[in-house]
């Protein structure tokens, strides 16, 4: 069976578990990271020299980097669905995975870090304010993309949505100061109502 290392509330781990639940793929999850440790052990570092989660073991094939794991598992188990067969449709979905990692997350990270992982007396309000402003700005581009589309890639859920899920779940719960983004909000309702999302992504934030 597929083995997945990572604490359940890690955003990067959630991409993998949400994907597996959407595909009905059985997996065994092993707690690792933060309070659970494990990632600092020589055994784990042999699997993943970065000491980060998630890592997977798929019948002896070890892989890390959450978006690469999503692409690999979606290609293997969901070609034509979560992994579009058409080359252009696939690249169109794929780029939003990169965009989420390279544009949305860096904008939002200071808001998350200060509000959730920093004691109140040590929070940097200037960082929070700047983060709110830039997160709102980049989300407006996603909102424009979602105009006339049910999901990031079009009519159906694809891997591009999977990479977003755990990050936008944090945005929705940590940053109420969003601009008015009707297409984004409608999309968020669609993805967050999915049973697989509720089971794997909508967990207490820590």
């Amino acid at each position: 069976m597929l083995k997945v290392w990572g604490r359940a509330n890690s955003s990067n781990l959630k991409k993998v578990t949400w994907l597996c639940e959407e595909m009905g793929l059985p997996y065994e999850r092993i707690d690792a990271g933060m309070a659970f440790g494990v990632v600092g052990t020589p055994e784990y570092r042999k699997l993943n020299p970065n000491g980060l989660v998630p890592t997977i073991d798929d019948d002896g094939f070890i892989l890390w980097e959450s978006n690469a794991i999503v692409r690999y598992l979606a290609a293997k188990h969901s070609a034509g669905k979560l992994w579009p067969n058409d080359l252009e449709a696939r690249a169109d979905s794929d780029r939003w995975m990169d965009w989420c990692a390279a544009t949305l997350w860096p904008a939002f990270r200071p808001v998350f870090w200060n509000r959730i992982r920093t004691p109140a007396e040590k929070r940097n309000q200037a960082e929070i304010d700047a983060g709110i402003k830039s997160t709102g700005e980049v989300l407006s581009r996603l909102d424009a993309r979602l105009a006339g589309r049910k999901f990031v890639g079009g009519e159906e859920l694809t891997m591009g949505d999977i990479a977003f899920g755990p990050i936008v779940y944090l945005v929705q719960n940590v940053m109420p100061e969003k601009p008015n983004l009707p297409n984004y909000e409608a999309w968020y309702s669609r993805i967050s109502e999915r049973p697989a999302f509720r089971k794997t992504v909508a967990l207490p934030i820590a």
């Binding site: 020299p49 890390w64 980097e65 690469a68 692409r71 794929d94 990169d98 990692a101 860096p106």
Partner: protein
């Protein structure tokens, strides 16, 4: 013909230039970004709402996000060469693209901007040093990798080498202190032996 928008001194444009060079795909490059402007025009932003470079137009298919572009071009024009046919080997290569974006680029960028794009009297030396040390430590991981294999996923250059190789070249070319990293240095020399790399990546820093 494939059209590529972006200034050649952008690390993200270099990825695409090197990729098309390796693939032997004819292309036309259009200057855009920084002193060239263009990215602020309504026309450009209708292609790429992020107003960043690169963007490509491949016979009417418009795509942005440099790693997604490299994946798309490698699969379309380089199946069996830049894009491994085997699913596991492809994922093994692919993850280094995500790794370069998520683990390497954030600290690297601070060193590059501080050293190459900031006037000496305006440099934040403490910030540069902190990020230089962090980048050096991150690169320990690929130095160890290249002690075991010549390219990220084995004996041949694949798409996973492209984002990494672009960053490694800039790192090795900046006037900064670097750890010995003998295997990474040998990797850089291997890349410098490739015409596609020299044409697309090995240009003056600015």
């Amino acid at each position: 013909m494939l059209r590529v928008w972006g200034r050649i001194n952008s690390v993200n444009v270099k990825k695409v230039m090197w990729c098309v060079g390796e693939l032997g795909v004819p292309f036309e490059r259009i200057e855009a970004g920084m002193e060239h402007g263009v990215v602020g025009s309504a026309e450009y932003q209708s292609m790429n709402p992020n107003a960043r470079v690169p963007t490509i137009d491949d016979d009417g298919f418009v795509l942005w996000e440099s790693n997604a572009i490299v994946r798309y071009l490698s699969l379309k024009y380089g199946l069996g060469t830049l894009c491994p046919k085997d699913q596991r080997q492809r994922a093994d290569s692919d993850r280094w693209m995500d790794w370069s974006t998520a683990q390497l680029a954030p600290t690297f960028r601070e060193v590059f901007w501080g050293t190459v794009r900031t006037a000496p009297e305006k440099r934040d030396l403490a910030l540069i040093e902190k990020n230089r040390a962090a980048t050096a430590k991150t690169l320990d991981i690929v130095d160890a990798l290249f002690a075991k294999r010549p390219f990220v996923s084995g004996d041949h250059l694949t798409m996973g080498d492209i984002p990494l190789g672009c960053h490694v070249h800039l790192w090795m070319s900046m006037p900064i202190e670097r750890p010995a990293h003998p295997s990474l240095t040998a990797y850089h020399k291997r890349l410098l032996g490739r015409p596609g790399f020299n044409a697309g990546v090995n240009t003056p820093l600015s």
